[in-house]
């Protein structure tokens, strides 16, 4: 064993850092095809994240709550600024916007069912509102996107909130993309496109061009829906401090900030990995913006982009978010990147061969864009989509959301809070200098915040 370890270290086989096997593969592929890589999911590189923070549990100076007995509230209200009917959620964990088109109708139904059972919301996507999702989801957020595919006043009125999408964390500055193999006749009809064409949607809204126009656009959406529904504004994380201030200025009830770890169903790899800032840094800037405008508590903040665990949720809330939104974690709960799919009898059926067919394996798959999802989630294929049954998917997602919520309340109680929204920045310390600087939280065991006092 020692010998083979040493042989790996021979300088005749020394791997380059700058031209490692992955970079070589990238260059060879580019040379062979003359095309950039397109893939799904979010940034794969390691960036400072919530893992780099830890909580200071209660001890001598703070009083904890009993973990199993005492109540810890998780109720979350969004849209209190102007809407006559704010959104009321049982937990501060929501399901992020993902389109019908990217996902099958079965998946959209599963999301709605699970969200309704745990008392949270789901969000439409670039493909418009499906009846499956409206009927299954008690609280449904309807996106107003640059493409305006299927956008119509009837769906606007049957939504519970409206989200004006400026950008998303995986590709701030880019529009949607749905390759032809996923544009089946129903998807095509909902998007007013010929079936089978590659759909590359607009990156700019067609009828407004800046924050002052957006004031009037938001006003129009409020007029059409008689000022009932909360209006969210979603931005991909880049110049977050200024973007959040402008969104508040434009009249948003709720701001959604999506960091660079946020997912997509199809985007250029160079875009996913190299445009946008980490969720951790964006969250801090968003909270700074709210505080700078004295809007904390008036305008609510939802953070998304790489939220996976109850600990991530707790840290996001402690840093100042009102709620989180999860896309990729939700799909993984349904079975994304799982070895198997589950048939109607509850049997696990191996998907290994189907992963191989698209050149990957469970655990590495990011092939949402191909429409050949081996577990039947990111597909419009009639056979593949049967692999995700709404009932089974909903049960798994409900379990996942409940787990996150239990973890969240466990941490909150340990910090002495009887309401998860009482978690605060002071409860956190950072493990790395980078995270300390980005999150504006002291390095553990010190009072040092790198760059403190500088914006």
């Amino acid at each position: 064993m020692n010998e083979s370890h040493n042989s790996d270290k021979r300088i005749s086989k020394e791997e380059s850092w700058g031209y490692d096997r992955s970079t070589l593969d990238y260059i060879q592929r580019a040379a062979a095809h003359g095309l950039y890589e397109i893939r799904g999911l979010g940034a794969k590189r390691k960036v400072p994240h919530f893992d780099d923070l830890v909580f200071l549990g209660a001890s001598m100076s703070r009083y904890p709550l009993e973990g199993y007995r005492e109540k810890c509230a998780t109720k979350t209200i969004l849209g209190t600024r102007f809407a006559s009917r704010p959104v009321e959620l049982e937990i501060p964990i929501t399901v992020a916007g993902m389109s019908f088109g990217a996902l099958s109708a079965n998946v959209k139904e599963a999301l709605g069912r699970a969200a309704t059972e745990v008392g949270t919301s789901t969000t439409t996507g670039d493909g418009g509102m499906t009846s499956e999702e409206r009927n299954s989801s008690k609280v449904l957020v309807y996106q107003c996107l640059p493409s305006r595919y299927g956008f119509n006043p009837d769906d606007l009125r049957r939504a519970d909130a409206i989200e004006v999408v400026i950008g998303q964390g995986a590709k701030p500055g880019g529009g949607g993309m749905l390759l032809g193999q996923k544009v089946n006749p129903r998807v095509a009809q909902m998007r007013t496109l010929p079936a089978g064409v590659d759909q590359r949607s607009a990156s700019r809204h067609p009828d407004w061009t800046g924050p002052d126009d957006l004031i009037i656009k938001i006003h129009e959406l409020r007029e059409i829906t008689d000022w009932e529904k909360p209006i969210y504004v979603k931005v991909g994380a880049t110049r977050t401090f200024h973007d959040v201030k402008l969104a508040i200025h434009a009249g948003a009830d709720v701001i959604v900030v999506d960091g660079m770890q946020g997912g997509t169903a199809a985007t250029q790899t160079c875009f996913i990995e190299h445009v946008g800032i980490p969720t951790l840094a964006a969250l801090r800037q968003a909270v700074d913006a709210l505080e700078d405008m004295n809007m904390k508590g008036t305008v609510q903040l939802i953070i998304s982009g790489g939220i996976r665990t109850g600990a991530d949720v707790a840290k996001a809330l402690a840093m100042g978010a009102d709620a989180v939104s999860i896309g990729q974690g939700v799909l993984m709960a349904l079975g994304c990147n799982s070895e198997s799919w589950i048939d109607s009898g509850g049997q696990h059926i191996s998907a290994a061969q189907d992963y191989l067919k698209i050149g990957t394996e469970a655990g590495y798959c990011h092939h949402c864009h191909t429409g050949q999802c081996p577990v039947g989630i990111a597909t419009q294929d009639e056979l593949l989509e049967q692999r995700l049954r709404p009932k089974i998917g909903a049960k798994r997602l409900k379990n996942y959301l409940n787990t996150l919520n239990m973890e969240l309340t466990t941490i909150a109680r340990a910090c002495g809070k009887n309401n998860v929204h009482h978690l605060e920045r002071e409860d956190l310390v950072a493990l790395t200098i980078e995270a300390a600087a980005m999150a504006n939280i002291p390095l553990a065991g010190t009072e040092w915040i790198p760059g403190n006092g500088m914006k």
Binding site: G34, R148, V197, D198, A202, P206, E223, D226
Partner: protein
């Protein structure tokens, strides 16, 4: 049917829109007159009943936005996004229209007697637009379905990234956008044009379909890179 009059000097846009959304009895087609709009935004947005609205003056952004059933006459100029995302019905601007007129309209007919600004008919999704004057640059950008008739001239990049929408232009086209091309007029095009000009009103009867050019998509952008050996 009697006329119902509102004066925006004494009544707010909110009050008028609330009335239009909720107070019009089914089965009636009332005529609503709105005076002194003075450039106010979002007038008559979200009309979901059959009624006739006449706005006597200039309007701001998104007038008659998302109209579903109404017939709206704007006796003046219109700001950005007039009749944006219209589903059905009719919106007629007597004067000029600013940018993004009829943006993403899914249905209905928008008529602009004067000129329209930039991005007229952007993301059009099945609606029809007739412009008596000229249109600005980037008109019919990414237009997916529907028809646009331009009786004057068109600016730069007309019909950039067009899908299935068709544009008819009588005057000069400064430049075509990516993937847009001029095609021969067919008998169907003549018929469609004649019908649209007729619907637009008597003042449009002076235009002859044979004087128009047809602009449609060359469909070279329908697939991301058809020449490449795509391995996903």
């Amino acid at each position: 049917m009697e006329n119902i009059k509102f004066d925006l000097q004494t009544t707010s846009v909110r009050e008028i829109n609330k009335f239009l959304h909720h107070e019009i009895a089914e089965g009636t087609v009332p005529r609503i007159i709105i005076e002194h709009p003075d450039g106010a935004h979002n007038i008559a947005a979200g009309l979901n009943v059959n009624c006739e609205v006449e706005i006597r003056g200039h309007v701001g952004y998104y007038a008659a936005g998302m109209n579903q059933h109404a017939s709206v006459l704007i006796a003046g100029n219109a700001g950005t996004g007039v009749a944006e995302n219209m589903m059905n019905g009719r919106v007629h601007v007597r004067g000029f229209a600013s940018n993004s007129a009829g943006a993403s309209a899914h249905g209905g007919l928008l008529i602009v007697d004067g000129d329209a600004g930039l991005r007229c008919g952007i993301s059009l999704k099945g609606g029809d637009i007739v412009v008596g004057g000229s249109v600005g640059s980037f008109s019919a950008f990414m237009a997916q379905a529907g028809r646009m008739v331009i009786c004057g001239n068109a600016g730069d990049a007309l019909g950039d990234s067009l899908y299935e929408a068709v544009v008819y232009v009588k005057g000069h086209i400064k430049s075509l956008g990516a993937d847009a091309r001029i095609e021969d007029m067919t008998a169907d095009d003549h018929q469609a044009l004649e019908s649209l000009l007729n619907q637009a009103g008597v003042s449009y009867s002076m235009h002859r379909p044979s004087d128009f050019k047809r602009i449609a998509s060359a469909r070279n952008l329908y697939h991301w890179n058809a020449d490449a050996n795509q391995e996903y």
